[in-house]
Amino acid sequence: MSEAATLTKTVELRILRYLPASDESPSFRSFQVPYSDDMSVLQALQTIKDTLDATLSFRWSCRMAVCGSCGMMINGEPRLACNTFLRNLPPGPVTVEALKNFPIERDLVVSVGDFVKKIESIYPYIIPKEPKTVAQGTYLQTPAQLAAYESFSDCINCMLCYAACPQFGENPDFIGPGAMALLQRYNGDSRDGGQQKRLDAIAGEDGVWSCTAVGICSEVCPKHVDPANAINQNKTNSAFDFFLHYLRKDAAQ
């Protein structure tokens, strides 16, 4: 293929647009973008913004799948735009929509406030089992103890798992996979002693018990965090806690 031919090759992006100032509801709009083999969906969106339509809005920053900003639905699947490459998508138009299950603020930008509140609600910090001063140095933590929670600490808060979770779609108050992974990240940490507090936070209807083990959350996770595992481990923990709670009550009487 000649160079000119490569340069004129284009790809169609069908983008779900929504401008709150003027639109009653979202609708699709198509753009033709010059295609190159190494182009990510994010780069295609940037090309649209820089050369075709500056009013298109989307979040992005690091470009390397670690900041978690650019989650969106690409051909119906929750993906990070920065590490989804056009060459790997089937030929034909690429459909891009805001992340499912979240309200759309504008175009590809969704509301993130509720998600952040959920993260904050599960005590996402070390509640030390044995408090130590800085002068006393670090805690010991063997590689095995690290491995027990390490994968859960890899969550980049991109919210793809929420977009994949049908239970969250039906019940927006469900604590959801990402926040549960974070909970397990701290509950599984050998330095932490806050397990009881966190279990109390997720025992209700909107806690672990909204999960029906669909498991797609783990499949769409770009960092292999396995939030489904975090939730289901905590179903067991929560159930045990429920019964132990009665035992403790009896003991107290």
């Binding site: 401008l19 100032a21 050369t51 339509d53 500056a54 470009r63």
Partner: protein
Amino acid sequence: MEHFEADVLIIGAGGAGLRAAIAAAEADPSLTVALVSKVLPMRSHTVAAEGGAAGVTQAHDTLDNHFNDTVHGGDWLCEQDVVEFFVSRCTQEMVQLEHWGCPWSRKPDGNINVRAFGGMKIERTWFAADRSGFHILHTLFQTSTKYPSIKRFDEYFCVDLIVEDGRAQGATLLSLSTGEFTAISARSVVLATGGAGRVFRQNTNGGIVTGDGMALAFRHGVPLRDMEFVQYHPTCMPGTGLLFTEACRGEGGYLVNKDGYRYLQDYGLGPVSPEPRNKAMELGPRDRLSQAFWHEERKGRTVETPAGSVVYLDLRHLGKAKLKERLPLICELAEEFMGIDPADAPIPVRPAVHYTMGGIPTDIRTATPIPGLYAAGECSSVGIHGANRLGSNSLTELFVFGHVAGDEAVKFAKGAPAVNAGRNLEQAKASAAKALALRDQKGAGERHADLRKEMALTMEKGCGIYRIGSEMQETCDKLAELKRRFANVTIEDRSAAWNTDWVAALELGYQLDVAEAMAHSALERRESRGAHQRIDGFEARDDEHFLAHSLAHYREGASPEITYGPVKITKSKPGERAYGALGEALESKKEATHV
């Protein structure tokens, strides 16, 4: 306009801003800390740091070693008293992060593990696989939620500082989600807005790294210090500029040219050894490695690709298991973005802009020339990096000086008189009106996206790895032209909610100011030092005239004026900066004379 009154205002919620917020909240829980970020805090660019953070840990290492490595690495342009303070605080900050839960990589016995890094004599880089910045940022963010006195303003963009009665008293913010303005009054203000690497074309930085805080302080009369020193990281992805951490080489990776030859031995970094050797070959400092690439390219010993010429980062001999354990993110990047398995094939790499050594000048307590205004992190120039930063010093800087900034801001706030709320609100309204005027101006159809591209190109051309006076002059002229054209920008999007077209234009305004400070500081420095290398008759370091900090002063409607300030030398007299065999020889000679 909404008006929020806080005691301490922190702008930027990356590593430095979050550390400052926690320090402030701990120093006095009764004070309200407003923490502003234009993104959710965990999106801040600290997230992309890979290799790790320095802190003397091993028994055979000393604070003096860390001091010497840093000052030599900075080509003696460091504030030595600040470096001494810095190295003495590093390890305790690392321990503090460990207590807050940072998943540092461990030795089999459960103790902290450290890895080798460029320009460091002894291994002292704490790491969390190759996602150190990510883990640190999330640890800090999550820990910060514990303090009720921290009131966050997520996704608020700062359009101006409020300086009233000769002291910093707040800032004017644009809420991205509503497009409405909020004024925050505070008795002290901390800038922690990060670097400005996006003014260059190929860079490792996230889209948000646009020098906002630097430009804000600059426009309020704070001179920007040492802006000509911009770090090129030697191992980045061609095209995108994404980073392959120095830890690749710390773990034992090789850099080879098109013939498979470890070319660094030709540039005073030998001898060659199969195992990594501290301060030699691939573990030389970043400026030297990027410069060596430039020479290889000139000699035709690099490989041409559509995204520019490349050399290879060869990690194959490390084996799959070690790569997966120590460098999982690198493997992921190579596999997902380039279709390369580093265990099977070498990774094509080239230098890209990574870090701004200069910034808002502060004293050892992080105070800027404006009373009540503090700065920490990459936006600041506290004086530890000099003319070239050593890898893994910048993450630690965030905590050491973020901590100091939080403490100092609290101290200042408690001693300061009440803010002038009425006057502050007036200032905020004026700033908001100015920002709105840019959004709504008719302009002449100039697109800011085009200006941004031209800026990035001219910065790369004139202020690259090696610099020539005439080319720097062209860059200065081009930037002046771009600033003129910026006045003619027409913004397509006139709406309020999530108007990223408008915000990008505001950011470009900041970038152009910062770029000018860089280019003019570079043009005026007629010597070669660290990351500033000239090949037009000023190839040598000139301590007589230029052992001095450059200071770029903002001038409305004109290019910045450059002056110079003294460098604090305490115990390390400027000497020859050498690595590899020569470096070792010089060091043993020095030790011998000391005995």
